[in-house]
Symmetry: C2
Subunit: 339 residues, 2 copies
């Protein structure tokens, strides 16, 4: 038997940790002007990445970020056994066109903005089980493509309510390996779809907060841990509105995460100066914050262990326009400094 363990109802604990051998991030100009600018590997001034459309630009961003992650790991595409990847666009076209030249077997994933958690979870499961020595987990989002698909094309110039978040133009790529790496994944808690009936596609934080609360509650229960066992519990992109709801929902369960909670969506932009309203969102939001700031803090010993919880709003224009609610999902990943 491998040294993996089912823990509680929804979690796995990896006795043999899975190492994060390299991490790379590329972002657009707005993110590059924000508070985390010094933590990204590359800031691109032209958000089309020199291509003819937002979608092709996002593909190019995924390609460049993946190449950078491989370079940092001193690996070639042939060294990677599986790709776990996804994005926000319908039918994952950013992933398809961005990553096909790598010629790596692909598991295409969709978990809305929680996809980074899903990719790291399945990637770590594969490495821990011995199915792969190295895998690449990549997710991205793009403001232009996401607004066009989910809300209004940028040219329309709609007003954004204060509860709305700003989709991060950014991609994070991670090589997970059975050896090497100064940070590691030691456990995961896989989330369920949680629906509180919120119907406002411009208030994604409220849609996702119940799912985040659900998976954090379950994680602490499964691992028999308390919030203070983590230096940070880091949600993906709840924004200001979602953060309040999350903390309240957990407080109702007698769990207080206020002292250790951090939300990637609230640290990636400088508000109100950058005028994003409720903060950042998108798969790329948690991905580039992890690849930059979060792993940096762990590497330099500021933090020993964090719970990384990307959060997704399962929104489709079709379901939304047919009057359905926007359910949420979130996946939790335990990331620690190498002992």
């Amino acid at each position: 038997m491998a040294d993996k363990k089912q823990i509680g109802a929804q979690s796995l604990s990896f006795d043999t940790p899975v190492y994060i051998r390299s991490a790379a991030s590329i972002v657009g100009p707005k993110e590059g002007n924000g508070p985390l600018k010094d933590t990204f590997d590359r800031i691109v001034e032209d958000a089309t990445f020199g291509k003819d459309s937002w979608e092709e630009g996002e593909s190019e961003m995924m390609k460049q970020t993946s190449m950078l992650a491989l370079e940092k790991a001193k690996m070639k595409a042939e060294d990677i056994r599986y790709l776990f990847a996804g994005d926000l666009l319908g039918q994952l076209i950013a992933t398809t066109f961005g990553l096909m030249d790598f010629n790596i077997p692909l598991f295409g994933l969709y978990g809305a903005c929680s996809t980074m958690g899903e990719a790291l979870s399945l990637g770590a499961m594969s490495v821990n089980a011995g199915y792969a020595d190295n895998v690449l987990a990549v997710v991205s989002s793009h403001f232009g493509g996401a607004e066009k698909q989910f809300r209004f094309p940028l040219e329309y110039g709609n007003q954004r309510p204060m509860s709305s978040t700003w989709t991060v133009t950014g991609c994070g790529a991670f090589v997970l390996s059975k050896e090497y790496g100064d940070t590691m994944i030691t456990g995961i808690t896989t989330g369920k779809v949680v629906d509180y009936g919120v119907k406002d596609s411009l208030n994604m934080g409220a849609c996702m907060a119940p799912a985040a609360a659900d998976v954090i509650y379950q994680h602490l229960k499964d691992f028999k841990r308390k919030p203070e066992d983590y230096d940070r519990i880091v949600t993906g992109d709840l924004g200001k509105v979602g953060k309040e709801i999350l903390c309240k929902l957990l407080k109702d369960q007698k769990i207080d995460i206020a002292d250790v909670h951090m939300d990637c969506g609230m640290v990636i932009y400088d508000d109100p100066e950058q005028d994003t309203h409720s903060g950042g969102s998108g798969c790329g939001c948690s991905a580039v914050t992890l690849a930059g700031k979060l792993l940096n803090e762990i590497r330099r010993g500021e933090w020993e262990r964090i719970l990384f919880v990307p959060t997704g709003a399962l929104l489709s224009t079709v379901s939304y326009n047919e009057g359905r609610s926007v359910p949420g999902i979130a996946h939790a990943v335990v990331i620690e400094r190498r002992k």
Copy 2:
């Protein structure tokens, strides 16, 4: 170490097999009038499943099929540790709304019509590694929803060229377990995105055939097997046009699969009587054919071992209308009779 093995460049061989404990299929009226009608668990006369939209109908179909698979396995939702599920709709809304009431941790997957192969692969990997005792793999497609999303709304009444396929209204659900079951998964080969530059969204067979050829070639190489080691090599939904291309591409590599090849898209409808043109397609096509006919043949001893190869066309209306090609992907799963 667990008894799993990396085989060749893209495959895994499970020395401890993963059992298919139950399989369920529900289809719409057109499929219920086709040659496989006696193999489906349930045929529904109203393709909206009593709901207000195609999308909600598809969700209801996924729900009912999953419940049926659980019933057949004599299990409850609580017995299932993970859901591996997907559909063709943007942001997987059929999956989200259809399966959320089961309250099972979800890995959302997108591999176009190859998703059944992806779900069975990741599900089998999880069970074999000991991460779960039981998982549920579910995929679906729906003619009304797919035409509306990918091509033209049904009300538009467009003419369909002879190369076009008919999206199957159907859902297949499978409980995979570490024990019990008269059929089993003994290996997988995970496919890459393959792009031959075909740009015709009404000729999906031609888009997918190169990916099917690639993964079948690699599978036979990795496992050191020949086509005749399989009673059938079953592709998902290449249709007549795609089948010819597949056989030719493999023949160019000196592999002749003509005697053992079968395509789910070519057996699910009775053409030309049912007027589908090049055959059936959609995630549901391979899923319901596996749940019905294919597993039946294995169970009753007609076949000992098949290679199941769902095939996907990575088509988006956005990428397509921006002039991009339609790349393909396919995933291969070895299914055998219990020894």
